[in-house]
């Protein structure tokens, strides 16, 4: 026992010395010089959380640091994003998994203390998930045009997973573009919204692909269109709203995107290191099979392109939120 204790204390001392050395030499090294914090602006369990943990896990192999996931939920991701925007001591080692909440949040909370575009460095968009316009299996409408014609005559209801979600805003965008009568019916999350759609209580929904994919396959829901710019490889026979074109639908292109951002002071060298590492992550089999399970597609934009995309999104949702009257004053 005594020898064990001795060995233990010796090992602890050795460890302490090693740590002290590693700290003193850290300054000379390249980024990262510390653990990287990946902030998830939502509670554990959602798509953002699961994706972040998968990415953190793979990213650790590519950069010379631990990647620690931290959940900071609140006010549709704006609490965590506001905190990131304030910067701070470890801003050069903090990244955040942003999602449509970033751009939509900026549209519906006008008193945000940050600029959703200028206050951040946009590192890499990781995945895009298209939304699917779905109707119940026994719905009389078999195409988007049939649906639009009917919705001009009578009131339609669409379910969504909460005010300001990409599902909600897609519905509002559809309503604004096609000038139809549609009422939003809110639910607490997609899990609660789905039975209302399957049971025919609501007429239509613009749900995320992974939520409804199996129900489309089993024939319980009919997919009328996908919201992405290109057809989805998972539903190749379903048209995009953009290609339908009529009733201003050529302007309807939206996906639920998930990408990494950081404080504007994030070093350029760090951004480059991260992009390089993330590109390796995005080529790995573990990542690709995960993306496939989500019914998603790997993100394509990074850096300035990513930033320009965000700027467009912010402008678009700003307009939709104003027209739909869901802005907080």
């Amino acid at each position: 026992m005594k020898t064990f204790l001795k060995a233990l204390s010796a090992a602890t001392c050795g460890g302490a010395v090693a740590m002290a050395l590693s700290v003193s030499t850290a300054h000379a090294e390249e980024w990262p010089t510390d653990d990287v914090r990946l902030v998830v602006p939502y509670a554990p369990g959602g798509t953002t959380d699961v994706l972040s943990r998968r990415v953190a896990d793979l990213l650790q192999d590519e950069i010379d640091a631990n990647v620690i996931v931290e959940n900071r939920p609140g006010a549709g991701s704006t609490v965590a994003t506001g905190r990131l925007a304030r910067g701070g001591r470890d801003a050069d080692h903090t990244i955040l998994m942003a999602s449509p909440g970033h751009t939509i949040g900026a549209a519906i909370y006008p008193n945000l203390a940050y600029d959703p575009v200028e206050d951040f460095v946009f590192i890499q968009n990781m995945i895009d998930i298209p939304n699917v316009m779905v109707v119940p299996a026994d719905s009389p409408y078999n195409s988007v045009l049939e649906f639009v014609e009917a919705a001009k005559e009578q009131n339609m209801t669409f379910s969504h997973s909460g005010v300001g979600s990409s599902i909600h805003m897609s519905g509002e965008l559809f309503k604004t573009l096609t000038q139809t009568n549609m009422t939003a019916v809110p639910f607490a999350g997609s899990g609660a919204a789905l039975p209302a759609l399957l049971g025919g209580d609501v007429d239509v929904s613009f749900e995320n692909m992974p939520t409804v994919f199996s129900h489309i396959q089993s024939g319980d829901l009919k997919a009328l269109a996908v919201t992405s710019a290109e057809r989805s490889e998972y539903l190749p026979e379903v048209p995009t709203l953009k290609e339908i074109g009529e009733h201003n639908l050529d302007q309807f292109v939206t996906t639920a995107w998930f990408g990494l951002i950081a404080h504007e002071s994030f070093p350029e060298e760090a951004t480059e290191t991260m992009q390089e590492a993330l590109n390796k992550v995005m080529e790995r089999e573990e990542f690709l099979s995960f993306v496939e399970q989500l019914g998603a597609e790997p993100g394509t934009v990074a850096g300035d392109e990513f930033k320009a995309f965000i700027a467009d999104e912010v402008a678009r949702w700003d307009k939709v939120a104003a027209e739909a009257g869901i802005r907080q004053e």
Binding site: A43, R72, T157, V163, G191, A192, Q328
Partner: protein, 502 residues
Amino acid sequence: MENFTEVLQLFLATENFLAIAIGVVIGVTVGSIPGLTATMAVALALPFTFSMEPVAAILLLVGIYKGGMYGGSITAILIRTPGSPASACTLLDGYPMAQQGEAKKALKMALYSSVIADFISNIALIFFAAYLAKIALNFGAPEFFWLICFSLTIIISLASGSMIKGLIAALLGILLSLVGLDSVFGSQRLTFGNYNLMDSISFIPLLIGLFAIPEIIEFYRKKVVPHLTAKASGAGVSWAELKHSLKSIIRGSLIGVAIGAIPGTGATAAAFISYSDAKRRSPHPERFGKGEVEGVAASEAGNNGVAGATLIPLLSLGIPGDVITAIILGAFMVHGLTPGPLMFQENLTLIYALFLGIMLSSVILLFVGNAAIRYFSLIADIPKAILFPIVLMFCVYGAYAVNNDTFDVWLMLAFGLLGYVFNRTGIPAAPFLIGFILGPMFEDNLRRSLLIGSNDLSIFMRGPITWFFIALTVGSILLALYRFMTSRHKAKRRADDPGKGA
């Protein structure tokens, strides 16, 4: 069944047994720590399951879920701090029992009741999944609305003592539940522009503050070290006591199953409904809230009855009813499996292997729970002067851990003060919690129904399920009125004839 050997082959792997055991142990431990919920534990365990075999992966998560459901009751009983929201109701009778030196009895009853309810819930999952899922699909907003109306009428019985004080508590609960974003228009309600309040008031800081803090204040205000209640080990549950509570346990389990099978209600509501139902049927309802072992049994049966049943909509329809099942859905998908009707055709062997594992998890919960009780009940023997500072530390930590935010710590302390005021003025906490939990469900489903029906009220009477719950609601109100009248009649007779009464 020709595939039975295949099922057994899939199930009888060491990895599966280990996964269930480790899952239940993690669940009980995490569940018993205030602020750390089973939901968090399941989310954090998810990445570790990516590399496991599918059956073991799901069983690990289910084990954590079930263990966490029970674990929450341990600290609720011992230190009046619910480890998870669903165990808030267990505390109403569990803590008074611990104070009277019956901690072990309360813990054992909570365990037995949890295990029985869990078992019944599993049976429902295995044999009636397809049938219950069909009903769940017909359960839209108007049906939900009437279910909540009916629940509210049952809960009237919780307002023991002064009806006025009960109403004050319930309305205050509803008022506080309004804080946050409006669910239809997204406008801010009672947030005073504070971003921390936009997601509404966090339930866990509220619970911890409301129950644990007043005890601590009370202790230091009196400035005397109370005589130890001791005998923490005390007596366990006798066979007669278990038999006496068995009806309540079974009824509570069935309430849990019904609520679990419908997406979006939750274990906390099930526990309160089961508890109120047991109180209403009890020959001596006045003992509830003062350390009635049947109250602990009913509450735990309600929340554990939910656990197996939430897997019904998940497995048979692919619909997650709460956050935990949403995470489990994620685990299925990572392994290339999509829950839903197709899975019953394509992966039947796997489903049966899962069912076997889920049944086994009930048994393992019994053993792990018994071991946990042996060590945890020692807490009741710790002198309060030492115990309470530690409890306070856990309160602060637990409130912080929910959102990693100091705002919640302040919130917890504010509810601590409110709880203290409640204690001093005799305002009951249970109706307050009911208002806070059911108030938003009532509002959301009322508004949802009106939106779906374009403001046409006939949607509230659209089919057999609504008729059924309307009848129950009306019946329940009439019964309450009848009891009220007869008790008044009796009281009057007693007053007329003072020699006979008292």
